[in-house]
């Protein structure tokens, strides 16, 4: 029989596969015989075939992986045998008899499998006390000391008996059958024996195969760990039983086996298997075991698992927090963490960071008020990692970032600013990761709507955000990154709001110091502006001057300041606005703002209007010139304000603020000047627009141009302005002047070139439609004499 031939060398995959194939053929053949014998109700044959089938498991030729495949085949068949035994029992054969009978099997391993199978049936029938059978089989199984064979035999044992243990409330619990402690003892004994076999597997064969064997052992770890899981699942297992019976024996076995792989796995399995309150109650014992582990064991990882469990326990269970505080769990755990890093200076950076991240999460959950704990964890982490240099990319980096993110998520940014060790840990990261964390801080700050209300906090915050403020060696950013960073920092500036103006000044000083004089910043702004040719710095500055001028005029009522601000805007307009399109747009904005400003006296305003009017003819394109002149026409015509009567209260309000010094020579706010109404100047502007359009028309006869800026459009635009002022009762626009304009446009628009443009004709039709509406409505009197012609 193949089982007795140990021909194929181990490790030879082809050989093993061949062996497994033959073994499975044998198993199937014997399984067939077994089924047949069961059908024929031949107990002796059934046992004979079973023993032959189980004999295949006696091989030493298969690695654990292949052995497992074979084991699964066999254990499937044993399931039928169990049913057959139950049938036999119903037919009157006693289990005691069967229990005796199976012991006649010639070989030890088949005999023990059969014994286990019958024993399980025996307990299930409740004819034998569970305790006795359990003790018997567990002891007998000691007879198999071959690691692989022994491990799987005991795996079968646990599988077969796990539902038959005399746990509290189970049908097998009785004075004779035993109680939950006997159940635990059975699993503990099995655990101890399996672990010994598992450890011994490492030392089987030559030293050349060490690596492969370790891999194989890893695959078998769960077989051993399951014992711990089952113990933890035992009904009625009290904390006292865990503390006095289970934990000491488990720890004793774990420590004394002196095997790195087993210790690493089993400590984690132990922490995962048992409930959090058990760990909390035995924290001292558990932590005391850590120093006794082999030097290669990653104690930091073990401690991380424990801390994670305790933190989530405390998070879900407020009473546990009291218990943890009482026994100074944080102090104990922090002490152990510190000793781990001191005793194992070569622990991986990732593991150290992971351990401290877990400790920080624990501290944050259990003692949310105790910021000094958080700070201490950060400090210890920094001490442990300082000598290891910059944290490299990968897992270690992710752990450190997680460590830094925990306080941000747990507390607000202002609280994080109070953590003195935070910047130190941050400095351990690579520059671009520091920038990532800085982005996270800035976004978190904005998301939570927090306020930075003191210069001290502003300074600390800007320190953390340093990678967003200036160039850092080792970070390569493209222009869009720089733009995003700047926009983010600009948003952060809005939340720096102090309670009083003195402190606000100090905040602004800090801000200025951080942002502006730094050479790096200047370099960066320059780089950003050069890189982004599209950034309209002059346009933005000009627009800001106009805002300031509007405020100075309409809110503060400071004539000189208003005038000065317009001068500044004009200076920028003359020198810095880069292209004609933006010039046209900027001039429109200037005119729009100037139109609104009522603080200027006639002379000052006249000077500014004159200047603005002068700019029109300097625009590059005639169309822009024409539209600008039309806009300027409004500077000679202001509406009376509906709220003119409310001006006094406005003035007294600006008095009350008192923050703005009065301009030299101005004793009090000047009254707003009356609306400007200079109809002659308006008309002169409209005529000027017309002249420009005619000139464009002449020019275009040679060149040709886009239709939306063509003379046709300008004519209609001018006509609209005539109508605008006519409706407002500007006396200079007489009915006959308007009639001339209407006729002129009608004739221009009937030209072949203008007829081709549907857009233009629609604009014209809409304009005429407006007049007809007026003629049929409110403007009936006004427009009574106007003829719109044949159009």
């Amino acid at each position: 029989m193949a089982a007795t031939l140990s021909s194929a060398p181990r490790g030879d995959v082809v050989g093993q596969n061949q062996w497994l194939k033959e073994a499975i053929v044998n198993i199937k053949r014997n399984a067939y015989g077994l089924r047949k014998a069961m059908d024929e109700d031949n107990v002796k044959d059934a046992l004979r075939y079973s023993a032959a089938m189980l004999g295949e498991l006696r091989t030493s030729s298969l690695g654990p992986q292949k052995y497992y495949e074979m084991y699964m085949q066999v254990s499937d068949q044993l399931h039928f045998l169990t049913e057959y035994f139950a049938d036999e029992h119903r037919k009157g054969r006693s289990y005691a008899d069967l229990y005796e009978l199976v012991q006649h099997a010639g070989n030890l391993l088949p005999r023990l499998y059969l014994l286990c199978t019958v024993g399980a049936c025996y307990i299930r029938s409740r004819q034998a006390p569970a305790k006795l059978i359990l003790r018997d089989v567990a002891e007998l199984c000691r007879g198999v000391q071959h690691p692989t064979r022994g491990l799987f035999l005991r795996a079968y044992l646990v599988q077969a008996y796990r539902s038959l243990l005399p746990a509290t409330g189970s049908p097998y619990e009785s004075p004779e059958g035993g109680n939950v402690e006997d159940a635990a003892d059975f699993l503990l004994l099995n655990f101890t024996e399996m672990n010994k076999l598992w450890v011994r597997l490492q030392h089987q064969g030559g030293s050349a195969d060490q690596g492969r064997r370790e891999t194989e052992r890893r695959e078998l770890a769960d077989l051993v760990g399951k014992n711990l899981t089952y113990i933890s699942q035992l009904e009625g297992l009290t904390f006292a039983a865990y503390q006095n019976r289970v934990l000491p024996r488990v720890l004793e076995q774990v420590v004394s086996c002196r095997d790195e792989l087993a210790q690493q796995y089993l400590m984690q399995a132990l922490i995962l298997a048992f409930p959090d309150d058990f760990h909390l109650g035995t924290l001292g014992t558990l932590l005391d075991a850590l120093p006794g582990l082999q030097p290669g064991v990653k104690v930091a990882t073990v401690l991380s698992s424990l801390l994670d469990r305790l933190a989530s326990y405390a998070g879900a269970n407020p009473t546990a927090v009291g218990q943890m505080t009482e026994q100074d769990a944080f102090g104990t755990l922090a002490g152990v963490a510190l000793r781990v890093t001191q005793r194992h200076p070569d622990t991986l950076v990732a593991d150290v960071a992971g351990m401290y991240a877990a400790l920080l999460a624990f501290a944050g959950t259990v003692y949310p008020e105790r910021l000094e704990h958080v700070d201490m964890v950060l400090g210890n982490c920094h001490d442990a990692l300082r000598s290891r240099g910059t944290v490299p990319a990968g897992k270690a980096e992710r752990e450190v970032v997680a460590l830094l993110s925990t306080p941000l998520n747990k507390y607000d940014v202002v609280t994080v600013l109070g953590l003195k060790q935070y910047p130190a840990v941050l400095s351990l990261l690579r520059p671009n990761m520091q920038r990532e964390v800085a982005l996270n801080i800035a976004q978190s700050l904005l998301r939570r709507g927090a306020r930075i209300s003191s210069a001290e906090h502003a300074g600390l915050l800007l320190g953390l955000l340093a990678p967003l403020l200036h160039d850092v060696d080792g970070i390569e950013l493209d222009s869009s990154d720089i733009e995003d960073d700047s926009a983010l920092v600009a948003r952060v500036v809005h939340v720096m709001v102090a309670a009083d103006s003195d402190e606000q000044h100090r905040v602004l000083d800090v801000l200025q110091a951080a942002l502006f004089p730094a050479e790096a910043w200047a370099k960066r702004v320059h780089a950003a502006v050069s890189a982004l040719a599209a950034v309209p710095a002059a346009d933005a500055a000009l627009a800001l001057f106009l805002v300031a001028a509007a405020v100075a005029s309409e809110s503060a009522r400071l004539e000189l300041v208003t005038y000065d601000l317009f001068e500044q805007a004009f200076l920028l307009y003359e020198e810095s606005v880069p292209d004609s399109r933006r010039q046209a747009s900027a001039l429109a904005a200037i005119v729009g703002t100037l139109h609104r400003c009522r603080v200027l006296d006639a002379d000052a305003r006249g000077a500014l209007v004159h200047k603005a009017a002068g700019y029109c003819s300097k625009l590059l394109r005639r169309a822009d010139q024409c539209l600008a002149v039309l806009a300027v026409s409004h500077l000679y015509y202001q509406e009376e304000r509906a709220e003119e009567g409310a001006e006094e209260t406005d003035a007294s309000q600006s008095d009350a603020t008192g923050a703005h010094p009065a301009p030299p020579g101005a004793g009090q706010d000047p009254p707003p000047h009356p609306a400007v109404r200079d109809g002659a100047a308006v008309l002169s502007c409209l005529k000027r627009a017309l002249r420009i359009t005619h000139a464009q028309q002449q020019q275009l006869l040679q060149t040709g141009r886009g239709e939306l800026e063509g003379p046709g459009f300008l004519f209609v635009e001018i006509l609209n302005h005539y109508l605008y002022y006519y409706e407002r009762g500007v006396a200079a626009i007489t009915l006959s002047a308007l009639q001339n304009m209407v006729d002129l446009v009608a004739s221009e628009l009937s030209s072949e070139a203008c007829k081709e443009s549907e857009t233009l004709q629609t604009f014209y039709a809409n304009t005429l439609d407006h007049v007809r509406r007026q003629q049929g409505g409110d403007g009936a009197g006004l427009y009574a004499g106007l003829r719109l012609g044949a159009h």
């Binding site: 904005l446 709507g449 869009s480 733009e483 995003d484 926009a487 983010l488 600009a490 948003r491 952060v492 500036v493 809005h494 939340v495 599209a534 950034v535 309209p536 346009d539 933005a540 627009a543 106009l546 805002v547 509007a550 405020v551 309409e554 809110s555 399109r581 933006r582 747009s585 429109a588 904005a589 005119v591 729009g592 703002t593 139109h595 609104r596 806009a631 409004h634 202001q638 509406e639 459009f713 209609v716 635009e717 609209n720 302005h721 605008y724 409706e727 857009t759 629609t762 604009f763 809409n766 304009t767 439609d769 407006h770 509406r773």
Partner: protein, 185 residues
Amino acid sequence: MLVLVIGDLHIPHRVPDLHEKFKALLVPGKIHHILCPGNLCTEATYDYLKSICSDVQVTQGDFDDSSKWSDTLVQTYGQFRIGMCHGHQIVPVGDRAAAAILQRKLNTDILVLGHTHAFQAYKHEGRFVINPGSGTGAFSTITPDPIPSFVLMDIDGPRVTVYVYELHGEEVKVDKIEFSKPASL
């Protein structure tokens, strides 16, 4: 069809961000088009609008970092021709008759304007003008203490229902205005 009209955000120059209450309302996947009359002011804000709806139309504001947007544009949504302009170019600022000239030129049923930071919706000679105000209630020299607001237009055949969202303190108030396209236009 839902068209979001939101403008004059002035992020980050005048305010740190759009209010959370508004952000919560502006969820992706519901809005078909976004019209922004200008002053986003940065690419990041444009990207944010893009995250709500992929079709974002923008006109040039006086404080936009980029000068790539056009001064006016016209879009046709359903039966409506909708024109848009930021409005800082229109003199006098906020003048209805001046805006009407632009409306005639663009020949639109609805004209969207910005710049004043005050919500406004009115009918003028059979056409409709909407100013959604400032989405963030940013500082303005035209409107003191602006109220954050935006507009959602529900276009359905010849009718548009204009929903106005305003943030009063921490409370969002919604108002509704109906506009129908005149048969003659």
